[in-house]
Point group: C2
Chain length 360, copies 2
């Protein structure tokens, strides 16, 4: 059951997949992986692990990294998987998987290097799993991250027919001198929020609870949400790959310490994640009027009769990523992020406090 490198660890004979089908699947995985491989990925066909060169002695690497620190994160996509299976949308799950880990890496100030996936299924259905891997590969390409390996496990007595689970692992590199340090956050710093694309991949236990209770059909179009996409499609919108614009931004500020903190807004919401970027002497004071949450949140809240505090605790409520920046640079940081395609807004400021997020 071993694998990475370029070989995935499944004996297809065990799984009812024909040898031809298995070979096609393996070839298609390889194709998706190769799309993400730059010259730093070393060929290791049939190897036991994936190999990624650090370019240690190259001038560019030497100049940028005096004290390199590896940064690693792992995450899954939670019960969004169940909805993805129900509405037959697997690519977004792959994108979510990459986003959840890689967005966490860049919060620390890291440059993403590579990603590995673990896919477990009741039964290996190549056509389905290939769609997950396609999503993973596309997201890796967007983030400049090599898909270095992965494991496909067929565990038919652990998963119900049709079910899968996903885990993702991402590694990046960071120059110690440029690491994000919560101690640098100061009163007067500005909070910039990057809008989300919807629910992303947290809170789906609640979403599915609401759908069940209110009898919501994911195949229906609700005009107040989207005039074309179904409710299911709106919900499946993948987590935004903030890693891409944030990496670009960080490369522009190699010398100046413009950014004093960042947060990827996942389970726990804005208050439960942005606080992780604060030390005990400051609060982030957020102006809710600064952005308009996507309509899916009001819709879910109304359908489920959920109180607002619970909504704030479970969902991103429209802000998927936040940056704390020095006031003199707030305008230019926001403008650059907008140029990279983000809906970036000033959403609050840092004041003296006790390490919490408050609403203004």
């Amino acid at each position: 059951m071993s694998n990475p490198g370029e070989k995935r660890g499944l004996t297809y004979a065990d799984s009812g997949v024909s040898i031809e089908e298995g070979d096609r699947f393996a070839a298609s995985i390889m194709r998706h992986m190769r799309k993400t491989h730059g010259p730093r990925v070393l060929a290791n066909e049939g190897g036991f692990a994936g190999l990624f060169r650090l370019d240690f002695n190259e001038q560019l690497f030497k100049r940028n990294f005096k004290h390199p620190v590896l940064v690693a994160a792992t995450d899954g996509v939670g019960t969004k998987i169940k909805l993805g299976i129900e509405v037959d949308m697997y690519e977004p799950l792959g994108v979510d998987l990459v986003a959840m880990s890689v967005n966490d890496l860049v919060v620390q100030g890291a440059d993403p290097l590579f990603f590995l996936d673990y896919i477990a299924a009741h039964k290996v259905e190549p056509a389905v799993l290939e769609r997950v891997i396609r999503g993973i590969s596309q997201a890796c390409q967007v983030c400049g991250c090599a898909l270095l390996g992965g494991e496909t496990a067929e565990l038919n007595d652990l998963y119900a027919p049709g079910d899968i689970d996903l885990a993702g692992f991402a590694v990046g590199v960071l120059e110690l001198d440029r690491a994000i340090d919560t101690e640098r956050v100061e009163a007067g710093d500005i909070v910039i929020g990057l809008e989300s694309d919807g629910v992303h991949s947290n809170g789906f236990s609640l979403v599915r609870g609401i759908m069940k209770q209110a009898g919501l059909d994911p195949s229906k179009v609700h005009d107040e949400l989207d005039t074309e996409r179904t409710f299911g499609e709106v919900l499946m919108t993948p987590t935004r790959l903030y890693a891409a614009p944030i990496t670009k931004l960080l490369r522009r500020y190699k010398v100046k310490k413009v950014i004093s903190g960042m947060a990827h807004i996942t389970g726990g919401g804005l208050a439960g994640n942005l606080n992780r970027a604060l030390h005990d002497g400051v609060d982030a004071v957020i102006d809710r009027g600064a952005w308009a949450p996507p309509p899916v949140f009001a819709f879910l809240q109304a359908q489920g009769n959920i109180d607002s505090q619970e909504m704030d605790r479970v969902f991103n409520m429209g802000i998927g990523y936040a940056l704390i920046v020095r006031p003199t640079f707030a305008g230019s940081v926001a403008k650059q992020l907008q140029r990279f395609g983000e809906r970036a807004k000033v959403i609050g400021e840092i004041q003296r406090g006790t390490g919490s997020v408050r609403w203004s």
Copy 2:
């Protein structure tokens, strides 16, 4: 649901775990993680990702790594999980999880650096999951590998009550000039096998099938297997952490290219893994008489009436790791591995061939 660094991403309020119990769980995880942390792990309490310093500019690192390559592997432990749950043995699953990935790393010649885990459960039961993490931490300590982060996901509609799944992810570093290269394998090289401790963590779908069909009770003691341990305990014996002795061995041969190939014997058996260390011009010719498989294999074969080819294809049959070494060094390599506690034996030799494993 995000996490690593030193904070795991679960809101315990959602899970019926009390705040106190949740805090105790978090503290115990942290304790297990810290036991694995050397000075290269940077404190990042509450951070979004784990940080591992590369010691880039230290003399020792500089001397050893001119062209460093990161090596990464991911794996799970398959349906051994179901047996572990049934017989209430969770620590060995943690050890297996680390072994599966870290043993793959050292096959490439890498020095293990750090490990991350993903644990998904129907319900977070701190007492149970702590035992998994204890096993992970212990195995990481043996391999000199930092447990840098992890994710605990409660997915109650994906897993049946009591069920869990595990995925592990390991990263190591390798000097490119010392990378294992299948092209170096030559006719005349000697194959050294390291004995396994039993089934390890592959083939448990078959094991459980045999147990069910033959009505085998895991709580029974079979004298032919072990006069003290139950059948379940014998089966749950964790995968040997070959990474530890192999890392020590590799450090002794930094200059001389003594080892031309290695293989971690997992699903696919000796023939299906050792072949990955061969190029197309050589065969590994193995003498089955060179070692005695642990009695559990004959027992399973008899109980399930399994044919020998199937046994060879599914199980390690007593050899869990294999090295291909230059003939002049075979004796000293075997002796060193024995000194490190391995049952190391010459089990075959390399001959001209077509890239396969044959029996002599």
